[in-house]
Structures are given as C-alpha cells and as structure tokens.
Subunit: 231 residues, 2 copies
C-alpha cells in the first residue's frame, strides 16, 4: 500500500472510473485530471466531477485544452459519430473518433501536475483490446511515453523514477467492469457514449455504447447508466 | 530541399526565430505554433506573430494552454525572476524559471497539429548549452520524445516517420546568432527577456538577457532589440 500522491486521468467514462478505484485501492492519494478539449460530450466533465468525489479523489482539476484548433476527429470536429457499426467493422483501421495525439497531450499535462505535486505515479485507463485502432492505446506507446517522461522532468534528473500505470491495458470490457464492481464503482455515475443527450443519456448506437453493452452482457449485470436513457 | 509541411515551435525569442529561418532555408512550408500559457511576458506572442510573418511562415497559430493551474515556475507563477546572476550561478541546478514539462506539452501540441497537417517534421529551438539546467532541453530528451511520437500517431502506425529537429541543440548563443544573421533574421523582432516592459523592452538583468548580451558581444554586432530598451 502506498500513501503517495498520484495523478489519475479521469474522463468520466467507465474505464477511467475503474482506474481511479484501482489507484485508490492501492492506497494512492489521487489527483484526478480531466480535460475540456472541445469534445462534443461535455457532460463527461460533470460526470467526472461527481465520480472524483464518489471515488475519494483528493482533488479534481479540469484543464482547458483546445484540440479543436487542429480539427481532425469526429469527437471534436463537425463530423458525424458513426452508429450501429458491427464488431467486424470496428476492428479495422483507425476510427474517425480518434483524436490526434490526444493521449500524448493528456499525459503531458499529467506529467506537469505530477512534477509540481512531487508525484511519481500517473494512471491512465487506456485499453488495447477494445481500442486496438488507437495508436496511443498500445502498450508500446505507454512504455515509450514512460521512458521519455523519465528524461523530461526535474524530478527525473534528480533521480526519481516516474511510472505510467495502465492497469486496464490487457483487460476485456467485462474484466474491467468486474474489477470495478469488486471495488464498489457505481457505473451509474459514468458516461461512455460518444454522442450523449443533454442529461448524459447514452445513444446506445455508437461504438462506445455497443462495446459497453456487450461488456455488461458478458458480466451478466444490468448497466446502471441505462437508467438515464429515455427508452 | 523539401517542400513538405513542418510544424515549428515559435516563442518569439531569438532561438526559435533562428529555427524558423533554418526550417524555411531547408524548403519546409512552415506552420508556426506559439503558446499562451499564462507566461508573464505575453508580449512574446505579439513578437511571434510579427516574426512568423517576416520569416515566411504559411500560418501562425496560438494555442491556449493553462500551465499556471499547476504553478511551479517563476515564468508563470508569482515568483520573482532572478536578476544579475553570475554565469557560475546560472550553471548550477535547475533554474526557478523552469516550467514543469513545458517542452513535453508544447511538442505534444505540435504533434497533434503535425498529424492533422500530414507533416512529418517538427522543429524546436532547444539548446543544451545555455539551458543545461532544463531537463527537457537535452538531446536524450529529444531522442526519447521522437521515439515516443513515432508510436503515438495514426501516421506513424501507417508507416510515416516523424522527425523532431533541434538544430540549435549543440550551438553556442554566438553560433546561433551568426546562423540567423546569415539567413537574414531581424533580431530586432525577437524578445528573449524573462521580465520585459510593456513594449517588450528587455530588462537587461535576467539570465536570458545576460546570455543574449554575451552572445551578441561574441559575434561583435549590436543587438537590435536593445533599441526598444529605455536606456
């Protein structure tokens, strides 16, 4: 058990909520970091705030980062989010919802905060299975980022070793949900949808909703977030 | 000679102006990127805009990045900028003007823009001699960043190789100034001071002013930026 500070990237989705619970279960004092990056689904940020509180984070900060200035993704630009794609289609290529260099940018802010806090641990909820099309969700990216981070900062120069934890990287969605339920995560407080309604109602048809539904189905429990849905 | 697009980090200072001129001289179509990061010396941003224009950049963008939210540096927080430090003192330790993870954050934005532009080249004006105390100005940091970037993006996955150019990394300030003068850089348009006046008058006493003055002295030409100074 550690009582050291850690920075935890928290989107308000299922994965990062589980990561925050894991970091807490390891005894870290968690500083949760979310981003207002011009995403369509800004309701995520309100969810993230409630989640950070519910999961015992010491502090929750929202960094404003304008990734829309560069364009290039259905999550930030005026491109339609694809709906009802079959698994076979999701598995191919890099999805239109990929945001250029997003995890690189997010981890860089986490690194800045970690350095100011004196934290040697950063947690991120990337997953290589469901997001195989995203280059910055792969284990080799995380390893390379960690190596770079250990050369980038004052604390690294002074001998501290920084670790990027990606505890979900090899898990299926069902395994992630089971881990979170064991740690008491209330998934009713999370939002995974790429195109939610004003009250965070999941659309039920985007890739993210389909992956989440399959995960809960495999676990054999109902998704509490569906209570927000209008159907 | 290349006519490919490149992203050039441009602070408005002497180093990055020289880098932009170097990138242009190699035939790159330059997209200049500056940051409004809550720095004390915001006059840099106006200088950067004039410089980008004078040096033939295709476009100049300013990204708003709130690094003040984490605190931790004399350049962003309410900490006094040190004045009239002797060389011997500048050479020791990490200066109070170091901004946590700044180059990591800046390069990450450059990476996002490069990906959207289809650019495979990013230029940054880091220098390991004058800024030996900054961990993120060292060659090993740049090499590790490049390695990470080549795993981070869609274009990397699709086989493109991204290069981080740091053409000033081993040069003395005098060598940088000579290179820029050879390429026709008007250093009167640059501002290096950590604590400038409202019209970008250099204070003449901060580390950056002292290093710059020494450089021009070695080259044996007057610094045209001193025309802005009140003395």
């Amino acid at each position: 058990m550690s009582s050291s500070p850690a920075v935890v990237l928290l989107s308000g989705g299922l994965d990062s909520a589980t990561v925050l619970a894991i970091a807490r279960s390891q005894g870290f004092q968690c500083y949760a970091l979310s981003f207002d990056y011009g995403q369509r689904h800004r309701v995520e940020l309100q969810m993230a705030d409630r989640l950070a509180d519910a999961l015992g984070a010491i502090k929750h900060s929202v960094a404003h980062v304008d990734l829309r200035m560069f364009g290039g993704s259905a999550l930030t630009a005026e491109i339609d989010v694809p709906k009802d794609r079959p698994d076979s289609e999701m598995a191919h290529g890099i999805p239109i919802t990929y945001v250029p260099a997003r995890n690189t940018v997010f981890l860089s802010f986490a690194l800045a905060w970690a350095e100011v806090l004196g934290a040697r641990d950063i947690f991120i909820g990337v997953n290589a299975l469901d997001y195989s099309g995203y280059p910055d969700c792969r284990p080799e990216f995380i390893a390379a980022y960690e190596q770079m981070a250990n050369l980038a900062t004052k604390s690294a120069v002074e001998g501290a070793t920084l670790k990027i934890h990606a505890p979900l990287i090899d898990l299926t969605k069902a395994q992630i949900i089971r881990a979170g339920l064991d740690l008491g995560v209330d998934y009713g407080l999370t939002s995974s949808c790429y195109d939610p309604g004003p009250n965070a109602e999941p659309c039920g048809h985007c890739d993210s909703c389909l992956i989440r539904a399959k995960g809960f189905q495999e676990v054999g429990v109902p998704d509490p977030a569906l209570a927000r849905s209008s159907h």
